[in-house]
C-alpha cells in the first residue's frame, strides 16, 4: 500500500478512472500516513481528515456513476496555508491570522478542487511566505523527510516535505523570491514557478504583489503539467492575470532534448558550495549526453539581483504589513519582522531604481533567449543545512545567499522549473532550475521530463 502514497497522479489517475483504485481508500491511506508521520515532519498546519474523506466519498460516487472529471479526480493534495480556503482556517503561517477563516477559496485552489482534487489539509509554511528555512515558531518547524535534523526550505516547506514523505500526491506552492523552487531543491521534489500572471493569485495572501506567483509542486514533471493544465488561465479577479490561450502542458513530455540550446549564466556558477558545484557539473555533462548543447553566457544585469530583490520584496511587504507591524509587531517572528521593517527603511528612489533594473534585466533575458532556448543554474548555491538553534540569524543568512539565484526569476517574471539534480555527501537532495522565456512552461516541462528520466536522485554523490 505504501507505494500508492508515492505514486504520481499521472499513474494513479488511470487506476481511479478504471475503478481499480478507490479514492476513499487512497485518501484513507494518506490520512493514516499523516497521522503516523506528521507529528515529526509537521508538513500540515491543519489536517482535514473528515473534509477529505467527504470529498473522496463524493468523488467515488461520481466516478462509480460514470462521471469522471479528469486526471485530478480523486487525487489527494495539500494546499499551502496562504491560499484562502472557504470556511477553513487559513493562517498564512502566522500568529496574526491564526483564527482567520475566509469566505472564499483562492482561484488556483478552487480550480484544482473543482476538478475533483481531494484536499487533505492546509500545509505548513515559513511565516507569511517570507522566509527560506521552514521554521515556524507558531505551528512548529517543518522537518526535511530526508533527515529530520535538516530544514525543508521555505517558504513552501510543508508542500515539499509532504511530497517527499508521501503525505500528499500533489501540493500547491507560492514563489515570491524562491519559495517553490528552494524547498523543492532541499526536499528532492519538483516545483514550477510559472510566468507572472499565468496562474491567478486571487485569494492568495500577498507577500510582494509584483513578485508573487502561485504554482504546482509534485514528485514528477508529468504531475506538474497536469496541475498546470488546471491552475493556469485568465482570472478577471486578478489584475495581473494574463489573457493567454489555454494549452496542453502534457503534450510535449515525451519529446527528447536533442538540439536544445542551454545557456548557463556565469552568475549561476559563482559562490557555490562544493557539493552543489560538483553535482551541477555532473548534471551539465549528463544534459550534454542527452543531446543538449550547453554554453556559458554572460548576463551582467544579474549582479543587480540582490539589490533589486531586497528593495522590491521588503518594500512591498512593508507596505502590505504596515498597519499590523505598527499594532501587532510582537506577533511577528524576529526574522520576518526585521525583514519587513527593512523595507520601511528603504527609500522611494531605491524602490523605483529596482523597478528600472527589472526592466533592464528582463531585456537582458530576452536578449539571451535569442541565442539559447533555456537557461540553467543551480536552484540555490548552498547544500541543504541542518536547523540551527540560532534560527533568526540562519534564515536571514540563507535569504542573503539564495536571493541572487532565485530572485531574478521573479524580478523578470519568467518561468523556472526546479528539478532534483542529485544527493549530496550528507544524503540531502540538491536541485537545479531550468529557466525559460515568458510563457515557455511547455518547453521547460519537456526538458524537465527528459531530465527526470535520468533518475537524478539515484545519482548520489559518488563524486566524493
Amino acid at each position: 500500500m505504501a507505494e500508492l502514497a508515492f505514486m504520481p497522479a499521472a499513474k494513479l489517475a488511470p487506476l481511479i478512472e478504471s475503478k481499480q483504485l478507490s479514492p476513499v481508500e487512497l485518501t484513507r491511506l494518506m490520512l493514516e500516513r499523516i497521522d503516523q508521520y506528521d507529528g515529526d515532519i509537521r508538513a500540515y498546519i491543519t489536517p482535514l481528515p473528515e473534509h477529505a474523506l467527504a470529498q473522496a466519498r463524493l468523488a467515488e460516487r461520481e466516478i462509480m456513476s460514470g462521471i469522471y472529471k479528469g486526471a485530478l479526480h480523486g487525487i489527494p493534495m495539500g494546499i499551502k496555508d496562504n491560499f484562502y480556503t472557504k470556511d477553513i482556517h487559513t493562517t498564512n503561517g502566522s500568529k496574526l491570522f491564526m483564527n482567520f477563516i475566509p469566505g472564499q477559496t483562492a482561484t488556483a485552489a478552487e480550480k484544482l478542487l473543482g476538478a475533483g482534487g481531494i484536499m487533505l489539509g492546509k500545509l505548513n509554511m515559513h511565516e507569511l511566505a517570507a522566509g527560506s528555512t521552514g521554521t515556524n515558531p507558531f505551528f512548529g518547524n517543518t522537518r526535511n523527510p530526508w533527515n529530520l535534523e535538516y530544514m525543508p526550505g521555505g517558504s513552501s516547506g510543508g508542500s515539499a516535505a509532504s511530497l517527499a514523505a508521501g503525505l500528499a500526491t500533489l501540493a500547491t506552492g507560492t514563489d515570491t523570491f524562491g519559495s517553490i523552487r528552494l524547498p523543492a531543491a532541499m526536499c528532492g521534489v519538483y516545483g514550477l514557478k510559472p510566468t507572472y500572471g499565468l496562474v491567478s493569485t486571487y485569494g492568495v495572501f500577498p507577500t510582494a504583489w509584483s513578485m508573487d506567483t502561485a504554482g504546482p509542486m509534485a514528485r514528477s514533471v508529468a504531475d506538474l503539467a497536469i496541475m498546470l493544465n488546471y491552475m493556469a488561465g485568465f482570472d478577471p479577479n486578478d489584475p495581473a492575470s494574463l489573457h493567454v490561450p489555454m494549452i496542453n502542458y502534457e503534450a510535449d513530455l515525451k519529446k527528447d532534448m536533442s538540439g536544445i540550446k542551454i545557456g548557463v549564466p556565469t552568475h549561476y556558477m559563482e559562490g557555490l558550495d562544493a557539493d552543489v558545484e560538483k553535482l551541477f557539473q555532473h548534471a551539465m555533462e549528463t544534459l550534454n549526453g542527452l543531446g543538449a548543447e550547453i554554453k556559458e553566457i554572460e548576463i551582467p544585469e544579474l549582479t543587480l539581483s540582490t539589490f533589486a530583490g531586497y528593495a522590491t520584496v521588503t518594500g512591498e511587504a512593508a507596505t502590505f504589513h504596515e498597519e499590523w507591524l505598527k499594532s501587532y509587531a510582537e506577533d511577528y517572528s524576529q526574522d520576518i519582522r526585521t525583514f519587513f521593517l527593512t523595507g520601511a527603511m528603504t527609500m522611494s528612489p531605491q524602490y523605483n531604481r529596482a523597478q528600472q533594473i527589472r526592466r533592464k534585466m528582463t531585456q537582458a533575458f530576452e536578449q539571451a533567449f535569442f541565442n539559447v532556448d533555456i537557461l540553467l543554474g543551480p536552484t540555490i548555491p548552498i547544500a541543504t543545512p541542518p536547523y540551527s538553534e540560532h534560527w533568526v540569524d540562519q534564515n536571514l543568512e540563507i535569504v542573503k545567499r539564495i536571493m541572487p539565484f532565485t530572485a531574478p526569476i521573479n524580478l523578470t517574471g519568467v518561468p523556472s522549473l526546479a528539478v532534483p539534480m542529485g544527493v549530496d555527501r550528507e544524503g540531502l537532495p540538491a536541485g537545479m532550475q531550468f529557466i525559460g522565456k515568458h510563457l515557455s512552461e511547455k518547453k521547460l516541462l519537456q526538458v524537465g521530463a527528459t531530465w527526470e528520466g535520468t533518475e537524478p536522485l539515484r545519482k548520489t554523490l559518488a563524486i566524493k
Binding site: W209, S210, P239, A240, P300, E301, T303, L304, T306, F307, Y310, A311, T314, L325, K326, A329, Q334, D335, R337, T338, F339, L341, T342, A344, M345, T346, Q350, N352, R353, Q355, Q356, I357, R358, R359, K360, T362, V392, L396, K400
Partner: protein, 63 residues
Amino acid sequence: MDATFIKTGLEHQGYPVYEDDIPYIADMLNLIHQQEALLENFPYVNFEVPITVFDKGVIGWQN
C-alpha cells in the same frame, strides 16, 4: 547603517522599536546599500522606465 538613524526612522513612522531588531535591520540595509553600488556598472539605468503596476483593470477601455 547607524543604529540611531534606524531607530529614529522607525519611530518617526510610528513603528515600535525593539533594540534586538536593530542589528538585523542594519545588516540588511547595509547589504542593500552595498549592492546598490554595483549600479556604477550600469550608468544609464535612470533612463529605463520602471516596471509599474498599471493593469488592464485600470485602463477600462481595453477590457
